[in-house]
């Protein structure tokens, strides 16, 4: 930082200015979360009489219970808990499978180059730039033919296919920095194609596995479009349920329930960030440090 090397007076002023700006930015960023949190603990009357940012007159957890168990999402009124588990059932296999396939693809593309492997990688890369909307119809037709329409399995398949482009890119870029000599040494030691992957490359892939899991978990958990298009009534993910909950109008709008439901929907991604977040930056910059 510039100011740290200059004189004391300027140092102090510049520092305060920086802190001030940072604090302001943090405030702007945190304000919506604050509003969501306090609103979710307010009663309906409290919301109507108080201001947006005032603290609840009385802290109640009714809206959290309602959002989880009794709020109406369309025709049913069982809250979002069923959809929460739908999302878990979708996101866990989708993340694990797409991460594993990405690791394997990256291994092959970077360490077992074949004729046309560069072209193959370019085409994979192209997949990262395909908008969701473009694949909606063909994918629906395909799921129908496979008999997977309106199922969680179908959703997992869609997310795996869509995610493999990203996961392949991540792992390929990570493995390209692993010296080829490591693979050569393993070949001379007698290790075959799969042994090299299991015994040599996967064990050193922890940072990039974390990055991929965070990335895939976030994007699959937060996805709405695939969820709304390909899921059936009993396989809808939480994002769809949240939308239904907010849009279901039965008289007065229950903002406190909406807010509680939205926070519940965001908790798993927050959790993943807290657990694996330290690997995220480390993993993204891993290529720049000689391993």
């Amino acid at each position: 930082m510039h100011s740290s090397s200059t004189s004391q007076g300027e140092n102090g002023l510049g520092r305060w200015l920086i802190y001030g700006v940072l604090a302001l930015m943090a405030l702007v960023y945190l304000l919506p979360l604050f509003v969501m949190l306090v609103t979710s603990f307010k009663t309906g009357t409290d919301i109507r009489t108080g201001s947006l940012i005032s603290l609840p007159q009385e802290w109640v957890t009714d809206s959290w219970q309602a959002a989880w168990g009794t709020a109406c999402t369309g025709v049913t009124c069982d809250g979002i808990k069923g959809y929460f588990w739908n999302s878990i059932k979708m996101v866990v296999p989708a993340v694990l499978i797409s991460t594993f396939i990405g690791a394997f693809n990256g291994y092959v593309i970077s360490k077992w180059r074949f004729k046309g492997s560069d072209l193959f990688f370019s085409l994979m890369l192209f997949g990262c730039f395909l908008p969701f909307q473009l694949v909606l119809l063909p994918m629906a037709a395909m799921l129908g033919k496979l008999g997977l329409a309106n199922t969680t399995t179908g959703l997992v398949l869609v997310h795996v296919i869509y995610g493999v482009a990203f996961t392949t890119l991540f792992f390929r870029n990570y493995y390209i920095n692993v010296p080829d000599e490591l693979v050569k040494a393993a070949k001379l030691d007698g290790a075959g194609f799969f042994t090299i992957f299991w015994a040599i490359l996967l064990p050193i892939s922890k940072p990039i596995i974390m990055v991929t899991i965070i990335w895939q978990f976030t994007s699959i958990w937060n996805d709405f479009l695939f969820g709304v298009v390909y899921s059936g009534a009993d396989s809808q993910p939480i994002t769809v349920a949240l939308n239904n909950l907010v849009n279901t109008s039965t008289g007065v709008k229950a903002y406190n329930v909406d807010m509680a439901a939205a926070i519940i929907a965001a908790l798993p991604t927050l959790f993943v960030y807290f657990v694996a977040g330290k690997y995220f930056v480390r993993g993204l910059t891993a290529g720049s440090v000689k391993g």
């Binding site: 010296p179 000599e181 050569k184 040494a185 001379l188 030691d189 007698g190 042994t195 015994a199 064990p203």
Partner: protein, 372 residues
């Protein structure tokens, strides 16, 4: 211990018009230490990789103990390799690194333990067995890499510039270690380097390569003293051999000689071997190593092929054990090795002794050594 025969190895990379290896023929005896040396891009590492089976050859045969292995996968050739970057498996301890190849070959655990004990004691790394490679210094990693190769007791060892990542002092130490190890185990080793000191000190025989061809294959002594062409002569030795264009003359006693012109323009006669009498009137390239031009040495009587000459000393470069001086002969800069305690300053004239008995003579067009 195994015998290795490389028979007319050719290699052309796909999408390339040029041959990377242009017919390599080398026979390596059991227990021999062969060094492949040459400038970067000469094909020495490619040749090494083809022996290991990491790259295919376009034609030719690679025979280990008279069995053609050129179609075999690397793991079936029973070869171990030590890499420049050591290529230790970062997720494994030293012990696991050394055991990896043995485990894959389904060696019984007791045998693996015994083998690791033997190798780690041999290389003095037995106290490091439970460390990860990242916790080791460069020299220790180097030892572990050698240990991993030794643990499998393969037929053939390949070393791909194994010392070039070490600092200068450690490199000299490890060079001695490698030599000791070879003397003790008597293994067949093919060793790639671009360091000519390493090549001279370690090898039983050296293959000097350039542009995919072996320029000369011979003992360090032969390579140094009887280079087949100007490339080999210039590549080995530091400072490198001086090349001076000369015209062969005949003196009044019907002996071959030539004229050397210093920076002052004065010509002095230099006796040449009589073998060169057939070249009288022709132009040749005289190859003189710096140590063949020295200050006057009293115990060297002036024989036929040691001539005295006086030259102007232009530059002095003291290195400690010797002083490298630069003079000019026939408009070419020439380095000579002088004793370090000689009291002269740059710009002075000095009486020098030129020993032509060890000089090489090259055809200026073909660059071949005409006396071999």
């Amino acid at each position: 211990m195994a015998k290795l025969d490389l028979i007319d190895i050719r290699k052309t990379y796909p999408k390339s018009d040029l041959e990377t290896l242009k017919g390599i023929n080398i026979s390596i005896e059991p227990g021999e230490f062969l060094i492949l040396v040459g400038p970067s891009g000469c094909g020495k590492s490619t040749l090494m990789n083809t022996i290991a089976g990491l790259e295919d050859i376009s034609s030719g045969e690679i025979r280990i103990n008279d069995v053609d292995v050129s179609g075999l996968a690397p793991k079936d050739r029973d070869i171990a390799m030590v890499f420049q970057s050591y290529a230790l498996y970062p997720n494994m301890t030293v012990r696991e690194n050394m055991a990896f190849g043995l485990k894959i070959r389904k060696t019984p655990t007791t045998e693996i333990d015994a083998e690791i004990k033997r190798v780690s004691e041999l290389l003095q790394i037995d106290h490091l067995l439970d460390r990860k490679p990242s916790q080791l210094s460069g020299g220790q990693q180097q030892r572990v890499a050698m240990g991993r190769a030794l643990a499998r007791r393969p037929k053939l060892y390949l070393f791909d510039e194994p010392l070039s990542n070490l600092d200068a002092k450690l490199r000299v130490e490890m060079r001695t270690e490698v030599k000791k190890l070879h003397q003790r185990l008597g293994t067949t080793i093919v060793y790639v380097t671009h360091d000519q000191i390493e090549a001279m000190t370690l090898a039983d025989r050296i293959a000097v390569m350039k542009a995919g061809e072996v320029q000369q294959l011979g003992s360090p002594y032969e390579i140094y003293n009887h280079p087949t062409n100007m490339f080999v002569a210039g590549f080995m030795g530091s400072p490198s051999m001086n090349f001076v264009p000369i015209t062969v003359l005949e003196n009044s006693d019907a002996h071959a000689c030539t004229e050397l012109t210093g920076s002052d323009g004065k010509a002095q006669l230099l006796a040449l071997p009589d073998k060169l009498k057939t070249y009288v009137g022709k132009k040749l390239m005289l190859g003189l190593r710096p140590e063949h031009i020295s200050q006057q040495l009293s115990h060297h009587s002036e024989t036929d092929l040691i001539s005295a000459a006086r030259f102007n000393i232009e530059i002095l470069e003291p290195t400690g054990p010797e002083t490298i001086a630069q003079i000019t002969i026939n408009d070419h800069a020439v380095h000579c090795r002088l004793a370090p305690d000689l009291s002269i300053t740059a710009g002075q004239d000095l009486d020098l002794m030129i020993d032509v008995s060890k000089a090489s003579f090259f055809d200026p067009d073909s660059e071949r050594n005409i006396l071999l």
